[in-house]
């Protein structure tokens, strides 16, 4: 018996949708647990331990708490914007997962413009934060919104310039192709591709820093600088409204770490040849996610102007220099 190809495709899509949503939800929930555990151990505490073994049920309890809380709409807010903002932040982060290849054949949609699609969706995130902050009619939130917008504008430039460099090296915007080109030993990974440009490790660091800024993570968490702006853009959000922002933050971190893995660390390519590719992909990705958490609990927050200075005066010139150097070297060799 042969199944109709369109039916197979339908089953595949449904399976991916369910799978991705479970993946995102579990990630969001358990990265919070990991974050709290890591933070605890960095600070010589134990972290969550009461709910379930090693506190493993803590995220479930937290989620239940958030979900059962009353959704207060504060007086004087712009109700439409206030309600739409968390959705507008969450959906693009989910959409980003569509084109991410987790393994050789593990991708929901292998688009030729996969990279472009991810960046297109990722920039909607800012709009969501802006809407939420503006709609809240809270002065702290509005200050935060102004910061988020200029921060994202500033950091998307070096990030995209680095990505253009990678696209030039690979000659493709298809994430699957970008990984396939890095196969065959870790010295083929883009981060070590010194034949394309000796500045490749620097480009990786620029990408990583920009990713921290784009996902509003410490030390660049200007959106939610809790000691200055109370909770920034989320100040007025109760219960699950805040919960969704929170989930989206972790989803964005996973997207950012996945992109860094694909673009620089050879995606599912195994450096030693054992284990299936997807395990290597997750290993690399979670190593980056761990680094993000580690940074958060080690460094104090930068100020807004030094953040912009860093982008415009350091990251953008270096990334452009890398772009020029790469194009010259590609032409020569």
């Amino acid at each position: 018996m042969t199944l109709h190809p369109e039916l197979v495709e339908l089953i595949r899509i449904v399976a991916y949708i369910v799978g991705l949503i479970i993946f995102i939800a579990l990630n969001a929930a358990y990265l919070v647990w990991v974050e709290r555990k890591v933070a605890g151990h960095i600070q010589r505490r134990i972290g969550p331990k009461e709910v379930g073994p090693w506190g493993l049920l803590q995220p479930i309890a937290d989620g239940l708490k958030l979900m059962t809380k009353q959704l207060i709409i504060p007086y004087g807010v712009d109700v439409t914007l206030f309600k739409i903002a968390p959705i507008l932040v969450m959906i693009p982060s989910v959409m980003c997962f569509v084109t991410i290849p987790f393994g050789e054949n593990l991708v929901a949609r292998n688009l030729d413009v996969g990279l472009l699609a991810i960046f297109a969706f990722a920039s909607v995130n800012v709009l969501g934060l802006l809407f939420g902050a503006w709609g809240s009619r809270n002065k702290f939130a509005i200050i935060s919104a102004a910061r988020v917008v200029s921060q994202n504008v500033a950091y998307e430039i070096p990030m995209l310039v680095v990505v253009i460099t990678i696209v030039m090296v690979s000659g493709s915007m298809n994430l699957h192709d970008i990984v396939t080109q890095q196969m065959g030993g870790f010295w083929h990974w883009n981060i070590f591709k010194f034949t394309a440009s000796p500045l490749m490790p620097v480009a990786f660091i620029i990408f990583f820093v920009c990713m921290l800024a784009e996902t509003n993570r410490a030390p660049f968490d200007m959106a939610e600088s809790e000691s200055e702006l109370v909770a920034g853009a989320f100040t007025e959000y109760p219960g699950m409204g805040f919960g969704i922002f929170f989930m989206a933050e972790y989803a964005n971190i996973v997207v950012g770490a996945s992109l860094a893995t694909i673009l620089f660390l050879g995606g599912w390519d195994s450096p030693v040849g054992i284990f299936p590719g997807v395990i290597w992909f997750l290993l690399k990705m979670y190593a980056l996610v761990f680094t993000v958490i580690w940074i958060r609990w080690t460094f104090p927050r930068t100020t807004f102007y030094s953040l912009l200075n860093l982008s415009w005066k350091i990251l953008i010139p270096i990334s452009f220099a890398n772009l020029v150097l790469t194009s010259a070297m590609l032409k020569v060799f």
Binding site: A39, F140, A146, S225, S227, E228, F299, P300, T302
Partner: protein, 372 residues
């Protein structure tokens, strides 16, 4: 690098920082007139936890006011105890035995270190670094345990008495203090390598929030704020009280006047306090901890008296007027943070909000002490 507002489009808005805000460490409200993220004008609004300690003093006996002193500066309560006890002893002519004086110095300095540790953690927390707080509290816990064993309480101490201290120290205290000195000396370099040398922290503190010596004089700022502006003034050194003239210690002074200078002054003061404690512990004499024949009812002779001490936040002074009865006629408390905060309005003008909060944190505010 400090950034100042250059373009004014004349549109400002009022931002209420507090009374409930994570950066004000209590019920302090600062009414900010903001030009974008720049502060056009700042106006601290005080009085949310005003308890009329000065008036209370007029309604109770000299003895009964003793616990009140610890309720002002909850982080360095023993220094406030000490100020009051020294004042009354001077007025009445009671002399505390030497052992009691030594114990007073040791416990007050331990308390000063605890206060600086809380400040250190809270200050870095203001700057967005969460982890140092827990490390600082870990060290502070040692001090609190030591003091709890001796004084019976962990925060609002009432340990000193007119003519001595309430209780003699136990046999575990001196070894415990010696252990703590050793531990703390090894921790300070760790704090410096983890926090002080962090490039982000340096960028947030160096040349940010300048408070020149002139401004300190204008507003009467004392303590680490003044010493961070190059004013070499420490009551312990310049108007010695209790036994401080008997110890060898330095007054850390940094002339830069920025937030970093105030930070470094406090970090160095921890080490200086350790030096004082070490000398005091090594020379601790035997004997009684309470003077003989302290009258049950204290009635200082007519007249007035002023006693200043150096607390963790600056010079704290009490001026008491006695009319010869068992209650004070008038008691005026001069608290250091009140003066230190009053310069915030001028110092924060034209600053960015995050820098102004770094400046506010570097003043080391304890709100109940401001409001009294």
């Amino acid at each position: 690098m400090s950034v100042h507002a250059t373009s004014h489009i004349g549109e400002t808005f009022v931002l209420n920082l507090g009374p409930q805000h994570p950066a004000t460490h209590g019920v302090l409200r600062i009414k900010l007139t903001m030009d974008g993220e720049y502060i056009a004008q700042a106006e601290p609004v005080l009085g949310y936890s005003h308890r009329m300690h000065e008036k209370m003093a007029e309604n109770r006996s000299w003895h009964q006011f003793l616990p009140n002193t610890a309720r002002m500066d909850y982080l360095h309560a023993l220094a406030f105890n000490l100020a009051y006890v020294c004042l009354v002893e001077r007025m009445t002519g009671i002399e505390a035995p030497e052992r009691a004086q030594y114990i007073r110095v040791i416990t007050t300095e331990l308390n000063r270190i605890a206060s600086h540790l809380v400040w250190f953690g809270a200050f870095v927390l203001d700057l967005g670094g969460f982890s140092p707080l827990l490390y600082a509290f870990d060290d502070r816990e040692y001090i609190l345990d030591l003091l709890e064993n001796v004084t019976g309480s962990r925060l609002t101490y009432c340990y000193f008495r007119f003519g001595g201290v309430y209780n003699d120290i136990d046999e575990d205290f001196v070894p415990g203090v010696k252990d703590f000195i050793k531990r703390m000396r090894s921790r300070i370099p760790m704090y410096h390598s983890l926090v002080t040398k962090n490039i982000i922290l340096v960028k947030r503190l160096k040349e940010i929030g300048p408070i020149p010596a002139e401004m300190c004089r204008k507003y009467g700022a004392t303590g680490p704020v003044a010493r961070g502006a190059g004013i070499n003034f420490d009551v312990r050194k310049h108007e010695p009280y209790s036994l401080y003239s008997a110890f060898d210690f330095d007054v850390p002074v940094y002339p830069e006047g920025d937030s970093m200078a105030r930070y470094m002054v406090r970090m160095d003061e921890i080490l200086e306090s350790l030096r004082i404690i070490e000398q005091a512990v090594n020379r601790l004499p035997d004997g009684s901890v309470m003077a003989d024949k302290v009258p049950k009812s204290i009635k200082p002779p007519k007249g007035d008296c002023y006693q200043a001490v150096e607390t963790a936040r600056g010079s704290f002074g009490i001026r008491a007027v006695s009319d010869g009865t068992s209650t004070p006629y008038r008691m005026k408390l001069r608290s250091p943070t009140y003066s230190n905060l009053s310069l915030f309005a001028e110092a924060s003008q034209g600053m960015l909000l995050p820098d102004a909060l770094a400046l506010l944190g570097s003043l080391d505010l304890v709100i109940p002490e401001i409001d009294r």
